[in-house]
Subunit: 347 residues, 2 copies
Amino acid sequence: LNIAVLAGDGIGPEVIEQALKVVNAIGKKYNHEINLTHALTGAVAIDATGNPYPDKTHEVCMQADAVLFGAIGHPRFDNDPSAKVRPEQGLLAMRKKLGLYANIRPTLVFPSLLHKSPLRRELIENADFVCIRELTGGIYFGDKGRNETRDKAWDVCEYTKPEVDRIVRLAYEYAMKRRKKVCIVDKANVLETSRLWREVAQGIEKEYPEVETEYLFVDAAAMRIIQWPEGFDVMVTENMFGDILTDEASVISGSMGLMPSASIGLHTSVFEPIHGSYPQAAGKNIANPLGTVLSAAMMFEYAFKLMDEANEIKDIVNKSLAEGVVTVDIADGGKAFSTSEVGDWLA
Amino acid sequence: LNIAVLAGDGIGPEVIEQALKVVNAIGKKYNHEINLTHALTGAVAIDATGNPYPDKTHEVCMQADAVLFGAIGHPRFDNDPSAKVRPEQGLLAMRKKLGLYANIRPTLVFPSLLHKSPLRRELIENADFVCIRELTGGIYFGDKGRNETRDKAWDVCEYTKPEVDRIVRLAYEYAMKRRKKVCIVDKANVLETSRLWREVAQGIEKEYPEVETEYLFVDAAAMRIIQWPEGFDVMVTENMFGDILTDEASVISGSMGLMPSASIGLHTSVFEPIHGSYPQAAGKNIANPLGTVLSAAMMFEYAFKLMDEANEIKDIVNKSLAEGVVTVDIADGGKAFSTSEVGDWLA
Ligand SMILES: CC(C)[C@H](C(=O)O)[C@@H](O)C(=O)O
Ligand SMILES: CC(C)[C@H](C(=O)O)[C@@H](O)C(=O)O
């Protein structure tokens, strides 16, 4: 199993280290040869090479069966969004060059953490849905610019039918293995790109008569995620809407530090926790490694199709929660373990 | 006081009727001559004229000191977002032609309705913020289209400095009368239009040294609205982000049926409840009129600068809540009054 490891910035290296302990333990137990190749990305890559996603890193990713990713972002870039080189550009370049067209984020609820949710318990107890966000198109990658006097700016949102087709199809395939419900989120009452999405979706819908399809405008979806999260099974949407809605959805579980994600690509796939670089905690050995560990579980499931291995990782994470072997963010006044202690225990 | 009345579709006419009872009662008590001119908009206008915002309606609005608006939208258009003529087009035409550049939505919490919020009570008890959404620019009004083979679509998001300037300035003026905090929501790490917003905002920020300014990416804002709504005072953002975030914010109060809004314009201003046409309830005399009544209060405040009248309306609404003279959506097992009974009681 050839894994490219991109630890990145902030708490990235610390949480990745724990996930690798678990990956190696699983490799040993199940007799897999694990080859790890580390490469630079983010602010650390800017410092070393001037480029947040260096060619060398891209090579490493292209040759890997999967990429395990930590986080990128550094506060020194935060107040200057127009800086020439920014860590986020590395992320966008990686998505585009690896063809990571589908970002998959399960919204999982952990019973022992329900009280951490901002939502009332009875609304989320049975929430279990997946957001699938298109990741290489839309307004993120369209033409953008300024007029000569720089007092007018534009960003173009663009989609082609094949781009919509592959991701909507993925959502239906996903739903077939779950509760057979797809919710397509768009703004077809205003946007032409959304009308294209809806046209394509209406075609695919017919190929999956067993799946119940719903179309929801993005503003209504933003409400429904908080009003009735249990109503969703698989949600699929375009890049910008997905950015907003997946982050909104990640909050309702109350367990953001535990949330994994997968970005399915044409060339390889990337697995990363959703929590970001969390610079305030960097270097303190307090960050929660479980999101990264669960991302590794997704890697075994999606990239390697090794379900036993994936399930064993999920089980041990549940056990760590049940036994209270957790970091300070979820220790709730009980004993808080350090990042590395949790990693060692899991491994 | 010349008021254009656009009742629109669904429950629009019923809730507008109650608001007019209150407006007339206030006019009588405070000795204002109230001139009401009714005009068509939405699906009813399509039926009558083929146009959801007929020229005649526009004339009436242009001559009015303020527009009181019900709701538009009809289910027969819902599954066909590409229909040639749609009620929403009337809304967008009205916004553009009246120059309604700023949509203002207070997020109010009513103590007696806190248990209706999907959020835990302790998170929202002291929530009190205002979302200001740019309403006549951005991706709503930019160029949109398809290529010849119709397998590629685009929508252009565009902003000019003057467009950003006037709305950000409005937000600061608003904040000066409140808790002096402005949160500017954008996606400056990805979008050129957002970088323009931030440039303009950073200039205006300097003119208001007393105001505390914060810049938040839209994905982070979508999280913060649920995690810590009490942290906001005045939030300002572009059209599409505002569409999503204002709807998300409207849910957290648990009192959507009571939420008013104002759209400040170059030519006149429009006051409307946020709840929409709610076709399932139309004609049943059960819809909650309080959102429209509170929109009338905003009309007295913003369009007529008549604070006593505005406050008297707000007071009587609070009294109706305290005494349980409310419609079925908030009656909570107690006696439910009809739409018109609530209107009569308030008047
Ligand atoms: C950092 C930023 C460019 C990125 C995005 O908007 O896609 C992030 O918010 C995410 O969701 O991964
Ligand atoms: C109906 C639709 C065009 C409209 C919008 O997106 O602006 C609505 O959602 C709103 O917020 O008033």
